[in-house]
């Protein structure tokens, strides 16, 4: 599989007209756990389009993280197919997936996963060191309002600040897709807004296709579409006619 390294940045259009970035077909994921199999995904069909901003909702254990991991090339489904711009992620080998993650995907993890021995700046540099056309770490941290915490270690930052470093790290490589697993889970409203604004700004200004997992239904208002998962299946897909800005969300 070949992956385009330069992406075309598309001007905002009506979502339905845009090219498909991700397409999932009958995706299942089963974790064998001793005698029982845990069915994390039970046949998910779903598409994500260029520059689209979607929110994944659903109860705990419904398979949100699993789906996002598969889209991000971190995990492979047990069955079904996943395409990224027409290329199958499901049949890609390890090094192709690595290149895919390195050049196209920005991740924000549910548990930050900062490297404790590196400062905020260095955590971001981890990505800019290997990216193709990255921002500088300082720029990226500036975007999440952490310009004054460049040389702090994760243990010297609050949970919200760590989360923002994680976001800076995700956007620093100018990714084509931004995948965020509960980016505001640990944050208060005000910080949550800052973080969401940073994400929305990337989506808006750079046209980065964005998927955000959240438990907070009100965040869904900023999305183009809201995908609800329940028990490993897509329960509903709702399209928002207007997108709210993070500031206007009612938490």
């Amino acid at each position: 599989m070949t992956l385009p390294s330069e992406t075309t940045r598309v001007e905002p259009q009506a979502p339905s007209d845009r090219a498909t970035v991700f397409e999932a077909r009958q995706v299942t994921k089963v974790y064998p756990m001793g005698d029982v199999d845990v069915h994390a995904l039970r046949g998910v069909d779903f598409a994500l389009r260029e520059s689209e901003f979607i929110v994944l909702l659903g109860p705990s254990g419904s398979g949100k993280s699993t789906l996002l991991n598969i889209l991000g090339g971190l995990d492979v489904p047990t069955s079904g197919d996943v395409f990224y711009r027409g290329d199958a992620l499901t049949t890609a080998d390890e090094s192709t997936l690595t290149r895919y993650r390195r050049n196209h995907v920005g991740f924000v993890f549910q548990f930050y996963n900062l490297i404790p021995s590196l400062t905020a700046r260095e955590n971001v540099a981890l990505v800019t060191d290997i990216g193709e056309d990255p921002l500088t770490p300082e720029e990226a941290l500036e975007r999440v309002d952490l310009g004054d915490r460049l040389d702090h270690f994760p243990s010297q930052l609050s949970g919200g600040q760590q989360q923002r470093v994680a976001i800076a790290r995700a956007i620093a490589k100018n990714p084509d897709v931004l995948l965020c697993d509960e980016p505001t889970g640990a944050l208060d409203i005000q910080t949550g807004v800052v973080v969401l604004e940073a994400i929305a700004k990337v989506n808006r200004e750079l046209g980065t296709t964005t998927a955000v997992i959240t438990h907070n239904a009100s965040i869904a208002e900023m999305a183009d579409r809201v995908v609800a998962l329940a028990d490993g299946r897509i329960a509903s897909i709702r399209e928002n006619s207007t997108r709210k800005t993070p500031r206007d969300l009612s938490w």
């Binding site: 971190l74 995990d75 993650r101 050049n103 993890f109 996963n113 590196l118 540099a125 060191d129």
Partner: protein, 788 residues
């Protein structure tokens, strides 16, 4: 610098104690490697330069007496470049500072100094003056032992006449680097010396005018000695030739070679063990680091780092540690190699010293250390590479605990909750518990390995000098004599017991192998001069058969039941096929024994002796010495006491240093291993322990949970380590415990076990104290916030 390398440096810095501990193990290996092999290399160079510059001969032969006119014919043997005819004889010296006699080998030197084979280096004083017939040179070791200086004089009984010689100079010769009497294993500078004397005078004193009894040859380049030896032997046969030998088996050189090969095997074997331990340590430490950094690894992969980059990151850990160790080791090794060289030089006394640590030794040390570090890191790297990146998105699942066996047996109610935590933690991951135990056990094992040589040496002394040789003195006659000579000695006042000996020079052949040696004839069931098998049983000598030392059996390749050919090189020079009756596992030397009557029969002689061993009354020794010194037929008197002391002194001088280094390094390793084990369990459990503290546990209680576990591990590890140490000792004895010179018995004494146990306990105690201090300062908030 890329952020990922920064992470490497910070991570290394954070566990600098552990890094240093592992680096020190590698450093110990590199140090030992460079020290031994560097000293080996330098000594070999030194020896080669010495031999070259002072023209050490290629072939040596001694004989009864031949006319000097043979010289031209010897020179004409094809392949001979130079020949040196000499007179040589053992002379009993009367040293004023000792009651007992000393023995010197008198060797003739030209009256006018010229370039000769086995040339002398004059350390002090000067060469002999042609006009002063009584001037001699003495070897430096003997001169130092007796405080002799040029200008001093020494008294000797030469061929029955007492004579006084003037010392012109103190000298060294490549022929006598290692001065050793046949039958001894170590030099004894007090009792044995070499005296170089004006050849005219020496010949006259021994009725050798116009004749010689010793010849040394230098061969032309590229000539193998065999044909020359055969020709020379044929020529000297009718003059009582005792069989020519090449320099390989020339006594001094042979000992030196053995000494060097011992250095070489130490330099190879010991570092291999050390590096294996270092690899094991790296494996454990890196394995646990990978476990601790599981989420970081997953994040790196999710961010787009390839398996190669992640793997490389952890390999670089190992390499960084190795590089630190190598740097320390190269410095330490070079320094110690030069100290070792000086030490050896005190012993061997080379006139020239060539010191060099060759780049190839350094390169080999570096390569081997890096390779073992990479090997140690391999398992951890493989796990890091295999870790699925999706893990990064998930918090670590709580570890699976179960109720331990002890509790299931109903003993749980006796265990306090913290004790239960200890037991469950140990039983949860049996493999890891096992690794921890093996790790600590290695610490103890290394100490056993480093110390058991002392036990082995003591056992050799005890066996060879108490159980086997029970005589006080050994008397050697100038010429073989009738048994009457022995009874004469037996009749001396204070002699309590006498046993005859009959030694004949002979060549042993078996298949295509042969060895020039001497056959020692002893009484069938000796009381004094016994030969002991496997450190325990004194053997008897069956009539008709040969008894071989294990070493001799190896050298010529013959075992019990085989028939070997002996060519006697004395008297009527009979050649006879004889069966090897048994091979005896003795510890020192390579001997050939036979029952004395059988030797007499073989020689077609009636009861003839060449020496005797005596047991004497300790209060009358001075009188006995006095008589023996003045008995012309007695060539040499050897004291067992002196032999034992010489042996101990030599071991002290040589082995002690080796043993000392081994002990220091093994203690370093023991500490490194144990400190690492303690630090790993601390870092693994910091989060859990901090949580306990938050729940209200006291510092003492959490220390109990951690250190109690550690104490339990140590308690199991100590006996395991002693066992493992015995195994390492066995391995060492099997691989490098045998040279032609000695066979190290597998003996590990209680002292050694105690030393190992104490080392482990001390290391455990110190490591626990460090961990305890860290526990007291445990930053609760920090630990709980930043899970690593």
């Amino acid at each position: 610098m890329p952020a990922i390398h920064r992470k490497l440096l910070r991570d290394l810095w954070r566990i600098k104690g552990q890094v240093l501990a592992i680096a020190l193990v590698i450093a110990a290996a590199v140090t030992v490697f460079i020290m031994y092999l560097g000293a080996f290399d330098s000594l070999q160079l030194t020896r080669a330069a010495y031999y070259d510059r002072y023209r050490f001969a290629d072939v040596f032969a001694s004989l009864k007496r031949a006319p000097r006119r043979l010289e031209d014919r010897i020179r004409e043997i094809p392949g001979v470049a130079q020949a040196e005819l000499r007179v040589s004889a053992d002379v009993s010296l009367d040293m004023p500072d000792m009651a007992e006699p000393a023995v010197a080998q008198f060797v003739s030197i030209p009256v006018q100094r010229r370039t000769m084979l086995n040339d002398v280096f004059i350390r002090r004083g000067r060469y002999i003056d042609p006009n002063r017939p009584n001037e001699v040179l003495v070897n430096e070791g003997f001169a130092l032992a007796h405080g002799l200086e040029p200008g001093d004089s020494i008294a000797a009984v030469v061929n029955g006449t007492r004579r006084v010689f003037e010392i012109a100079g103190v000298a060294l010769s490549p022929e006598f680097v290692y001065i050793i009497r046949p039958g001894n294993v170590v030099p004894d500078n007090e009792h044995h010396g070499v005296v170089w004397m004006n050849e005219r005078e020496l010949a006259a004193a021994f009725d050798m005018e116009g004749g010689f009894n010793d010849v040394a040859l230098r061969l032309m380049p590229g000539v193998a000695g065999d044909d020359v030896i055969a020709a020379l032997d044929r020529m000297l046969e009718r003059y009582g030739g005792r069989g020519a030998i090449t320099r390989d088996t020339q006594l001094s050189n042979w000992f030196l070679t053995n000494e060097l090969s011992q250095l070489q095997s130490f330099g190879t074997m010991v570092p291999i063990i050390f590096l294996a331990v270092a690899a094991f340590l790296l494996n454990v430490v890196l394995g646990r680091i990978v476990t601790l950094q599981r989420e970081q690894i997953a994040a790196l992969k999710a961010l787009g780092y390839s398996n190669f980059e992640v793997g490389l990151h952890y390999y670089l850990w190992a390499l960084a540690v190795a590089v630190i160790g190598i740097a320390i080791g190269i410095g330490g090794g070079t320094w110690l190699a030069s100290s070792m060289m000086n030490l050896y030089n005190d012993f061997f006394r080379f006139p020239i010293l060539e010191f060099r640590i060759s780049p190839s030794i350094i390169a080999a040390a570096v390569a081997v250390s890096l390779a073992s570090a990479l090997l140690g890191a391999r398992g951890a790297v493989r796990r890091a590479v295999r870790l699925p990146p999706a893990e990064a998105m998930r918090p670590q699942t709580p570890a699976q605990y179960s109720v331990s066996l002890i509790e299931r047996l109903g003993l749980g109610s006796w265990l306090s909750p913290p004790t239960r935590m200890i037991v469950r933690n140990l039983t949860r991951r049996p493999l890891r518990t096992l690794l921890s135990i093996v790790g600590i056990a290695f610490g103890g094992a290394m100490v056993v390995e480093g110390s058991f040589f002392i036990d082995a040496m003591n056992s050799i002394v005890a066996t060879e000098f108490s159980v086997a040789q029970r005589q006080d003195l050994t008397v050697t006659f100038v010429e073989p004599r009738s048994a009457g000579a022995m009874y004469e000695i037996a009749g001396l006042d204070g002699v309590m017991n006498v046993e005859p000996m009959r030694a004949v020079p002979a060549r042993l052949r078996f298949g295509h192998r042969s060895r020039q040696t001497s056959i020692t004839g002893l009484v069938a069931n000796p009381d004094l001069m016994r030969v002991v098998h496997a450190g325990r049983t004194a053997i008897s000598f069956p009539p008709g058969g040969l008894v071989l030392s294990r070493q001799m059996s190896r050298i010529i390749g013959a075992a019990a039941g085989d028939t070997v050919t002996i060519e006697v090189l004395e008297g009527s020079r009979p050649t006879r096929d004889v069966t090897v009756a048994r091979v005896v596992d003795d510890y020192l030397g390579a001997y050939v024994y036979m029952e004395i009557d059988t030797v007499n029969d073989l020689m077609r002689e009636s009861r003839v002796v060449s020496g005797a061993v005596l047991q004497v009354d300790g209060l009358r020794t001075d009188a006995i010495y006095d008589r023996l010194k003045n008995t012309p037929s007695v060539a040499a008197v050897t004291l067992k006491e002196a032999a034992v002391e010489g042996f101990r002194a030599t071991i002290e001088q040589n082995m002690d240093v080796i043993i000392f280094f081994n002990q220091v390094f093994s203690s370093v390793i023991a500490f490194g291993v144990i400190y690492n084990a303690a630090r790993i369990s601390l870092s693994e459990r910091a989060w859990e322990l901090a949580s306990l503290r938050v729940l209200g546990f006291t510092k003492g209680e959490i220390a109990y949970v951690l250190l109690g576990e550690f104490a339990l591990l140590t308690a199991v590890a100590i006996p395991t380590g002693l066992l493992l140490g015995y195994g390492l000792a066995w391995l060492t004895v099997e691989t490098i415990g045998t040279t032609e010179l000695y066979r190290i018995p597998l003996v590990v004494g209680d002292n050694t076990y105690a030393r190992a146990t104490i080392s482990v306990l001390v290391a455990t105690f110190v490591s626990s104290a460090v961990v305890r201090r860290r526990l007291n300062r445990l930053d609760l908030v920090g630990v709980l916030k930043a899970r690593e």
